[in-house]
């Protein structure tokens, strides 16, 4: 009796987080095969970058993962700085660390809310968005934008940060653990939530590594790999924090890893604020790199990556000594995590597919570049 039915999940579907198209082959409600179609949001950022100056490309990185623009900016400008061989004074590095962690908090808050919503719980999303708003206001204070900041520039940052920002961040950070506890009351030990998550979308350690999974998804499978510890950049080697690792690699672990990371970020933000040195925050000859004057970058190539909230975001830049890069390759976490989706949803139910997609925490702008 079972007949196969092919169903199109997306590109217009409430829970594919954008324009991802998953083609499911169903037997009843069980998934027996799946295929994916991406690229509906492909804007050719890599090609665009080839005809823009290095400083202009910062605005393109905003539009990769529009939830975590700050960390995208930081990763990109650090890649170019590495190519140029310039160093940033400690205050600049502390500020970058601080803002990267705040961006991680924003992203993980959004993940918790949207994830709960995809599982049918409609309240957590309002809690997390209410709290996320506070950080967005803070970012607006320093950059003037709420989503696409373009705040960091090669060699430093656009403006000096006012003291008020640090004070308000401290206020926020003191309340953060309470906020996290509030999200957890509705979800973490909820029986339905656990039943929907435990054992769903399981990724084994070997499969995770073989597929090159990254970020919280990799760590949930029991691989304690975090670039902040493995290859410390910025001020992370001076920070005291732990890597969140899961055991089973299921959706529940991915959720727990992110909750743990929220708490660890809280620690890092507190340490950054405490240790924040005074002095300059831009590199010595920052004037040289200021817009609108384009600058040349010595020929060569660099691959630089940081631990973005969603995973490892890397920029592979080949320079030919001119004002624009010869080739930029963006290695984005959503892309590499989504590629492994088919293997995770084999034999699952439709509801599990939704949970699994949501647990990867993808943004299609980054996937499609």
């Amino acid at each position: 009796m079972p007949r196969k039915m092919t169903i199109n999940m997306g590109p217009q579907h409430p829970s594919t987080h954008g324009v991802l198209r998953v083609i499911l082959e169903l037997e009843g409600e069980n998934v027996v095969g799946s295929d994916m179609e991406v690229g509906l949001l492909h804007r050719g950022i890599e090609k665009l970058a080839e005809s823009m100056t290095y400083q202009q490309i910062v605005t393109l990185t905003d539009r990769l993962d529009y939830v975590t623009s700050m960390t995208n900016n930081i990763t990109y400008v650090m890649a170019v700085e590495k190519l140029l061989g310039i160093e940033i004074p400690p205050r600049g590095e502390y500020i970058r660390t601080l803002i990267a962690e705040m961006q991680r908090v924003v992203n993980h808050m959004m993940f918790v809310g949207i994830y709960a919503m995809d599982l049918g719980a409609i309240t957590p999303v309002f809690q997390t968005f209410r709290d996320r708003e506070i950080i967005l206001d803070l970012f607006e204070m320093i950059s003037g934008a709420r989503l696409t900041y373009s705040f960091f520039r090669v060699g430093g940052m656009r403006e000096e940060i006012p003291q008020e920002f640090f004070d308000k961040t401290k206020d926020f950070n003191d309340k953060l653990l309470g906020m996290i506890a509030e999200y957890e009351t509705l979800l973490t030990r909820n029986r339905i939530f656990r039943a929907r998550n435990i054992g769903v979308g399981v990724v084994s350690k070997e499969y995770a590594i073989n597929c090159g999974l990254t970020g919280p998804v990799l760590r949930a499978s029991g691989v304690p790999y975090d670039l902040r510890k493995a290859k410390p950049y910025l001020m992370y080697d001076k920070m005291d924090f732990e890597i969140a690792v899961g055991d089973n690699g299921d959706c529940y672990d991915r959720y727990l890893v992110r909750i743990k990371e929220l708490k660890e970020s809280q620690k890092i933000i507190a340490q950054c604020l405490e240790q924040m040195p005074s002095g300059a925050s831009n590199c010595e000859d920052y004037k040289k790199y200021k817009i609108p004057k384009p600058f040349k970058v010595p020929a060569g190539e660099v691959y630089f990556s940081t631990e973005c909230p969603k995973g490892e975001l890397g920029f592979y830049i080949i320079s030919d000594g001119t004002k624009s890069p010869y080739r930029i390759k963006i290695n984005s976490p959503s892309y590499i995590n989504t590629a492994a989706l088919s293997g995770m949803i084999e034999g699952a139910l439709i509801a599990d597919v939704v949970a699994t997609i949501a647990s990867l925490d993808i943004v299609l702008g980054e996937l499609d570049k």
Binding site: H42, L83, I209, V302, Y303, G314, Y316, A339
Partner: protein, 159 residues
């Protein structure tokens, strides 16, 4: 080049050890800026990557890129980025490919190569031999040309 020795190595050390192990397959191993870049002969890429994964512990392939050098022969570079998860080591493996020829797919060694190879094919037009589904990834079926080739027009005349 052994797993145990990785602990005391840096990127370029690993690259040179690789060259020592495969004297014929590896064309060059040098430090470009901060990256250890290894050029491997096109036909040996699968062998080298399998060795790196199984014997050495470079088990994490996370990026495959196509780069177009229109004035050079062979015209394309296919760039593989590999790293180990236990040590902070990273290798950039490059293969030179001439237009119209193909490269061996490494999909059966690294599952992550699935979309990466499709994307490289989509963007610069280098096909991968042995890939189960060598179709375009981002661009639609029937799209003409390969966008990340240098001769792909940035602007087209309005008709």
């Amino acid at each position: 080049m052994k797993k145990e020795n990785l602990k005391n190595m840096n990127d370029i050390g690993a690259a040179e050890a690789l060259k020592k192990h495969f004297p014929s397959a590896v064309e060059s191993a040098e430090l470009v800026n901060h990256e250890a870049v290894v050029y491997v002969r096109k036909d040996d890429i699968k062998k080298v990557l399998a060795y790196l994964k199984e014997k050495v512990g470079f088990e994490y392939l996370f990026s495959i890129t196509g780069v177009d050098y229109p004035d050079r022969t062979p015209r394309f570079d296919i760039v593989y980025h590999l790293k180990t998860l236990e040590h902070p080591l990273q290798l950039t493996i490059k293969v030179k490919v001439e237009e119209g020829t193909d490269v061996d797919s490494v999909y059966d060694i690294f599952k992550s190569a699935n979309w990466c190879e499709r994307e490289a094919y989509d963007m610069v037009g280098v096909p991968f031999k042995g890939h189960p589904n060598m179709t375009r990834l981002f661009m639609w079926e029937g799209f003409e040309g390969y966008p990340l080739r240098k001769d792909f027009p940035l602007y087209t005349e309005d008709k």
